[in-house]
Structure formats: C-alpha cells, structure tokens
C-alpha cells in the first residue's frame, strides 16, 4: 500500500501511475523489455520525490517501477514518493547490495534467457545533475547481463514529459508565487538605503528565509541557489550565472536578484533588477532597452513559434534600437520538474543535447523566458527569468512581480 493517500482532487495531483503506464506503452512500441532511468529529471517525473543521491528507477514492462537510491535516503524517498517501501530499495557497500547487484537483480527477470533490450539513458549535457548512465555503470551492467542489448531510450521520457499536466502547472504557479514573496522581501530590505552595508550573500539569504517561510523546499538551482550580482558582476560578458558573492552593495550600481524556489518539485525562477541609490541617464537608457525587450519577448512567445524565429525577432528589435551588442543571443531555457532545467523538448536539433532551434512550441509546454543584457565596459547588466506556460494564444508568465528596473 502506498504510504500516502493520493487524491486526484488535490490541485497538485500528478498521475504517476499513468505516467509509468505511458512509459510502458512506449517501451512496448519500441521493443524495450525493461527501462533503466538514471537522470534526475526521470526520477523526479516518475517517482514524484526528490532524489539527491545517485539513484535509478527500473520500469518493468508491466506493474510498478522500483527505485534504487543510497540506503541512508531510501526510507525518506519511499515516504515522499507514491511508491511503497517494497518498491524503493537502498544500496550500500555490502555483499549483494551495491548498485550493480541491485540493478541486475531487478532487470534480469525481464530478460528471457538473459536476452532482451534494456532501455538506458545515455547522452551528454551542460547541466551538471543530468544523471546519464556512466561508462563505468554501463560496463558493469554489460558484464553482468552479457546477452542483453542496451539501447538509448531517454526520448521516451523526454517526449512524455514535454506537455505539462494540470497538477504540474499548478506546482509551478505556486513556486512562482513563493518566489514573488522572496522578491517583495528583498525590495523591503533594500529600499530607502536599506541596501547599505549588505552583501550579495545576505540578499540571497534573506530571500531564502522569506521563501522558506512561504513554503519553499529548496532554492533548487545548482548554480548556487539564489543568484545575486551587483556592480560589474551584473555585466560580465554573456554572464548569466552569478552565484552570490561576499561583495558589498554600493550606491550607483546595478543589482540583479535571481530567486529560486521549489514546491513539490515544481520550480520558481524569477529575476528582478534594481539601481542602488541613483542611476545616470546612460544607466536608465540601458534599463529601458532591457525592459522593452522583455515586454516584447513575453508578447512574442506563442504556440508555433520556434526559438530561432523568436531570437531573430528579438535581435531585429535590438538592432533597430541600437543595443544588439549588449544582448546575449538566447531567450529561453528549458524547465520541468527538478532535474529538468536545460534543453527544451527532444534531442532532435543540429547540436546534440541542445535545444533544437527549430522546435515549435506547443500549448502546454513550459520554459523559462530567460534574457541577459550585459555591457561589461560600463559594468552594468540585467537578467530576466520567468517560467512561462505556452497557452492557446501567447503565454502565461508565472511570476507576477511587476517588471521594471527601479532605483531604490
């Protein structure tokens, strides 16, 4: 029996059993006897539990999947997930209890005479916690199951998780609401000279505390939690990754606040920008450029448009307004339940394991509208990130924190 009652009346309900059945149907169509998931995105999506340690999920052709994680966390994963304790196993450094022994024991019964096809998740990513099967794991499994064929099959989960169900969308909405609580708290703290004497890490911390109070489980981003940049750090060339530093905030500089919250594996991710104390005419010119292109970008996202088409339209606008050299030429990154932060859609573009620039957005897909403006020679930059849901027409931005670059 599952430890938790799962009601489809819950606004955050996700049908994990249905997801697994869909995976099994796709396995049957592709001639896969058993599926070994190892990516964090697959674990989150199939188990509905956060798996911070090296973990796996073995999906048989019929029936419940079994998760394997580090023994110190197995009971907690079982408690959080929809699966019972029998279907969440712990591995550890004991005879017959290591990762490969447990995986072999779960996979082998589904291979007749040891023969058959094992779906695996192989590939590459720029996203550190991706979790593809390692060469060592592959070699050990190959040695343990010498007659089996190992076939890369991550496209099954990628395809099935592309369109978000209502429960997942609601989780993202709640995570964004929590992020907005963090932003309001930051604004309250830095307003009216409150920023004086504060550091970037302190801004990240006070936002984290406010968001935790509001129900966030984690500042999930592996880029250092909440990303905060001030002064020259806001304008690093192409620099859209700024873990908070101990740098003190200074009057006359820009401040970028990029907050992350997690709610039931749904992710909030919104960036807001400020000027501290004062801003020059030139700084305001940069800020107006940035705000205008964000507005245009949000108006442009819609079903049917592709990343390259959208980038061309944005680039035309930048060139027309004379700030193309400051815009980093990318306007999105992927998003899904935790572990799914980078590529959008399928691995079907010209660059392996990157978003296909000709991907056509569809209703029900989610992505982060992500934009970075950087002028290193003037030590100034801005970032915008906001989870958006592709709607019937246009998109729904999930963070509602008012867009702008305010002088505080």
């Amino acid at each position: 029996m599952p430890r938790k009652a799962i009601s489809n009346k819950d606004p955050y309900f996700v049908d994990c059993k249905g997801r697994v059945k869909d995976v099994q149907a796709a396995m049957a169509r592709q001639g896969i006897d058993v599926y070994l998931g190892s990516r964090l995105r697959t674990l989150s999506w199939t188990l509905d539990a956060f798996c911070p340690w090296r973990s796996y999920v073995v999906v048989p052709p019929k029936g419940l999947p079994t998760a394997i994680t580090f023994v110190i966390d197995a009971a907690r994963v079982a408690d959080d997930s929809w699966l019972d304790e029998e279907h969440v196993q712990g591995y550890g450094p004991m005879g017959g209890q290591d990762q490969i022994a447990l995986l072999t024991g779960l996979i082998e019964p589904h291979l007749k005479g040891g023969k058959g096809v094992v779906g695996i998740e192989s590939g590459m990513g720029n996203y550190l916690p991706e979790g593809h099967l390692t060469q060592y794991e592959y070699e050990c499994l190959k040695a343990a199951l010498p007659k089996a064929e190992f076939r890369n099959a991550h496209d099954i989960v990628d395809r099935l998780s592309l369109i978000k169900d209502q429960g997942t969308v609601n989780r993202f909405r709640e995570a964004s609401r929590i992020v907005d609580v963090g932003h309001r708290e930051v604004l309250k703290a830095i307003a009216d000279g409150g920023y004086r004497g504060m550091t970037e890490t302190e801004v990240g911390g006070l936002a984290a505390y406010a968001m935790r109070k509001a129900g966030s489980e984690w500042e999930w981003s592996f880029t250092g939690g909440n990303e905060i940049a001030s002064g020259y750090r806001t304008g690093l060339a192409a620099g859209a990754c700024t873990p908070a530093s101990r740098r003190a905030l200074k009057a006359g500089e820009a401040l970028m606040v990029d907050l992350h919250a997690m709610f039931k594996l749904g992710l909030g991710d919104h960036s807001h920008n400020y000027f501290l104390g004062r801003a020059t005419k030139r700084q305001k010119w940069h800020a107006n450029n940035f705000v205008d292109i964000v507005k245009l970008c949000l108006r442009t996202y819609r079903p049917g448009i592709s990343p390259s088409q959208l980038a061309d339209e944005m680039q035309d606008f930048c060139e027309e307004r004379g700030f193309a050299e400051y815009m980093v030429p990318g306007f999105e990154h992927g998003i899904g339940v935790t572990g799914d932060e980078w590529r959008i859609g399928l691995n079907d573009g010209p660059f392996p394991y990157w978003t296909n620039p000709d991907h056509r957005y569809q209703k029900g897909e989610m992505l982060i509208c992500a934009m970075q403006y950087a002028c290193p020679e003037e030590n100034i930059g801005f970032r915008y990130e906001n989870p958006i849901l592709i709607a019937e027409k246009g998109c729904e931005p999930m963070s509602r924190f008012p867009l702008g670059v305010e002088v505080v």
Partner: protein, 133 residues
C-alpha cells in the same frame, strides 16, 4: 550600372577594406584588435578560399584573399561558399547561420559573442558592395 566586383577576388577584398575604412570608425568598431578568417568551402571552381581580416585598434588594416594553407587568426569561421554569399547579400544573418550549425566557428566563444555585433557591422558594409557571385 556601376562596377561589379567578383566575390572573393582581390578587387572585391580591396573594396571591402576601402568601404570599411570609410564607414566603420574605430569607435564603432570598439577599438578592437583581432583577426578573422572566413573559409569559403566548395567555391564554384571546386576550391576552398579564405578571406583574412585584420583589425588593429578598431581599424580594418587588412582584407586579403587566401588559398592553400591559411594564416592563423584569432577566429576562423567556416561555411559553404553559397552560405557566405547569402550572408554577403544580407539574406542570412551570420548569427542565425552559426546557431543552425551551418557555419562553424573556431576561437574563444565569450569574446566572439562580444564581437558579433561588430562583425554584423562589417557584413552590413560588405552587403553594400555591388558583387557578382
């Protein structure tokens, strides 16, 4: 009808340098010092042909056509002749061609991103040259 320059001819290269000198001030070119090689593969005569650009303190100091072993440059951009021809006619943007994988860049990417608008400016100047492909 004015003179038409044959694409990738020494005369065309000289015209690129002349017009760049007239239209691109060192300020517009951000006083950059760099070098770039654009390798046109599959030219109509079957050969590969490169254009070598050298910039010093924002001034385009050399535009020359190279065959055989090309000189070393900070950035090397390789694509089919037809694609470069389309970029030269301003039918395709270099950035779009790079992002679609039809064009390959060798060189430091962060610096290339900073310099890409300057290359666009150079391409805009090239697009003004009456050219025969």
């Amino acid at each position: 009808m004015g003179t038409k320059f044959k694409y990738l001819s020494p005369e065309w290269a000289a015209e690129v340098q002349k017009r760049a000198g007239e239209k691109l001030t060192p300020e517009k070119m951000k006083h950059i010092t760099s070098s770039m090689l654009t390798v046109n593969t599959n030219c109509p005569d079957g050969k590969d042909r490169a254009v070598y650009y050298e910039m010093a303190d924002g001034v385009v100091t050399e535009v020359s056509i190279r065959e055989g072993k090309p000189p070393k440059a900070e950035f090397t951009i390789t694509a089919d002749y037809q694609l470069f021809a389309r970029i030269s006619r301003a039918e395709v943007k270099a950035r779009s061609a790079l992002m679609s994988g039809k064009m390959k860049l060798k060189g430091p990417l962060v610096k290339a991103l900073k310099l890409s608008p300057l290359v666009d400016r150079l391409n805009e100047v090239i697009a003004t040259i009456p050219t025969e492909f």
